[in-house]
Symmetry: C2
Subunit: 154 residues, 2 copies
Amino acid sequence: MQNKPTAEPAGADQDIEDLGLVDGLAQLSFLVQGALGKVAAEHGLSVVQLRLLGVLRDRTPGMQELAHHLGLDKSSMTGLVDRAERRDLVRRTPAAHDRRSFLVSITPAGQQLARQCEALASRRILDLTAHLTEAQRGHLALLASALVNHHTTI
Amino acid sequence: MQNKPTAEPAGADQDIEDLGLVDGLAQLSFLVQGALGKVAAEHGLSVVQLRLLGVLRDRTPGMQELAHHLGLDKSSMTGLVDRAERRDLVRRTPAAHDRRSFLVSITPAGQQLARQCEALASRRILDLTAHLTEAQRGHLALLASALVNHHTTI
DNA sequence: TAATTTAATTGGTGTCACGAACTAAGGAGT
DNA sequence: ACTCCTTAGTTCGTGACACCAATTAAATTA
């Protein structure tokens, strides 16, 4: 997931080693997570908190639902939301029809922070792709979207 | 980083929303990290440990160097290598020319575990891209490689 | 040799993740 | 109504991780 395997015959553009799909995506994900991590850190957040805010931009799910969406255990959510709530980034609202459950929503402060992080993240991720051509960036965006869409739709 | 922005005019293939480069890559990275996390978990590892083994497949760096490569603080490395060493996945060898430093290398057990995880990770990541065409997979691999190569070369 | 830099560790704090056990509320079935 | 079971969320205990600041020991420089 991290090494440079046997070099390919000859790179078309420059000396680009084809890492293969698996290593390529794995390492790409580390790069992106690193970038997001830095952005989050600059605002005193963790990647998970940042992701939480991102999720809540257009949703107001219950704890359970949120846990499922983030791929976390429900017990992990309690602490996550607790910490975010303590910073006034997020709010728990009693659900209308079920006195056991809460709806988690983002606060104005949370929205503002999220927007700041987004802007920064955009710049950082664009930096990551700075050496790609505009066409390549577009292509990459489409391929990533295609992949992601499929797996969030399901 | 997580929402579905304004839909594009009309998807070429199917109803693919273009998330844009930033959201697309961010969400893709979450998917990939999730997949790697599951693979690691199935073998009692964390993503970081798995990555550590990956790095050591073709390197024998010092602690410092390793920390830099993983983007971690040197103090984080001590614990990381400690835990891996405790499981006999990794070994500290005194460096030849500097009695302060150690070279970290992977053990046979570590290599074996790494290979198992690689195989599993390959399958899982291929599953992620199952609905892409072979050409798209190839393209994605090349774009990811181009991006990654640039940022590990620098 | 003395002063500085470097490699790594230690100790302290906080985040995050999980599983197991628990509380409280909703629903089923009788 | 009244058990029985499921569901939503929390609590508790444990461990991995990550950082910073401070420390030790070796190497380097002056």
